[in-house]
Amino acid sequence: MKIICNNINFYYGSNHALTDLNLNIEENKITALIGPSGCGKSTFIRTLNRMYEHIPKTKITGEIFLDGENILTDSYDLAELRKKVGLVFQKPNPFPKSIYENVIYGPKKHGLKNKDALDTLVEKSLRKAALWSEVKDKLNKSALELSGGQQQRLCIARCLAVEPEVLLMDEPTSALDPQGTLKIEELFHTLKEYYSIVVVTHSMQQAARVSDQTAFFLNGEIIETGTTDDIFTNPKDQRTNDYITGRFS
């Protein structure tokens, strides 16, 4: 197990957003999080790299073990955690800088200065994100000139450049056209060789196509987890069944 979550409770002020969550995330597998809007998927995924720390008045209890170490303790270094656990956002959010600058942003801030090493890293990360062939001749162009799908792959590359072990993706394709979506879904298969991936998605088909494990969220609770095959073909809980057959949205 790469990540083990024990009894997570999460609060936005007095709003109890996650209740007694338990979830295991396997190494080199893709775990899909599904559930209706507002059920806490984004909230949960953001606990895994402690992004909630930037929102005032949030509170979390429970334990999250990453490689056996509890990341929710104060002594766990936030920078180290986020280097290990990367996050890709729903809407592509490249920095208004060149493509090259976007990729090296993280490593540079973490102290890597050697030009050759940075060059290698840029190529490696962009290749892994399946973007290299499209941008290798315009690395110094602004990232904002790329298409939406390319921007999202750039954001993935930017994430890969700090050499994470876990990739969190919050609806990474919801702002993309079908072609962009397809590219990213293809990418999942190659990425999972190196990374453990957690992906939030609203598309049942996407979850079924790309993931190995699936967790179904409802009202801040996990109703059911299991292999994707099991969840989609043989759900144990009526509510899971209702959701995947589209009886509530």
């Binding site: 270094d77 920078a79 180290e80 102290g111």
Partner: protein, 294 residues
Amino acid sequence: MKRKLKKREFLIEKLLILFAGITIVTTLAIVLTLFGETFQFFKEVPILDFLTGKTWAPTLVPKSFGVLPLLVGTLMIAVFSSIISLPLGLGSAIYLSEYAKTRTRKIIKPILELLAGIPSIVYGFFALTFITPLIRQILPQTQVFNVASASIAVGIMTLPMVASLCEDAMMAVPNSVRNGAYALGSTKMEVALKIIIPSTKSSIASAFVLAISRAIGETMIVAIAAGQSPVLTFNPLESIQTMTGFMVNMSLGEISQGTLEYKTVFAVGTMLFFMTLIMNLIARGILYRNRERY
């Protein structure tokens, strides 16, 4: 390495708090220095003589410290400049937000900004060498230094501020509010007067108060064009002295700390500070109380 980074983050935050704190220290320093010297001043001059006396002659013998001439001079400038800045500023704002096309607005706004960016010393020069001769041509009895000329210049200088504050508020009125009236066949004028002005009245009032406060604190124009004669008059064609005019005039000569002259400057300054402070508080109070919601 990690420790070092954390320590740096911590120190930077503390440094920024320190920077922010300087603004508070500034206020405290202003209040303390003004109060300190003013307190000394009132040890020598009875406060009642200061506030109600009609003769201002701090450097003559016999000395006299009745501040009324300065106060009346200042208020005259404030009132007469308002006659220009308030209606013209409001009118410009209505034109820009209700009548002007985007292209026209893009040309006119920078012009108003330029008008606002011209230093008061330049307006002073303009008042003395252009407005005053013009007034004297029409009304030959006008003195070389006079309230009217300075007031016109102060009014022109504060006009852009009124225009820009009012326009911001008017532009914030959503179009849906206007469209309802236009659908009923209202003319632009009716929309402006019956809908836009009433719904932005607190912003307008606040802009007016701020403009008056600016006029009270304006210094160089009045020092150049309004004169340096502290006489109690209500005639705008005569020469007067304002509070700021007096302060500048005193500072042009050498005044040493501890003398009564020095303290007098601070006493007048304190009065000026409080007048503008109160007006600024009123302006923000008006805004705060009637925040426009749509």
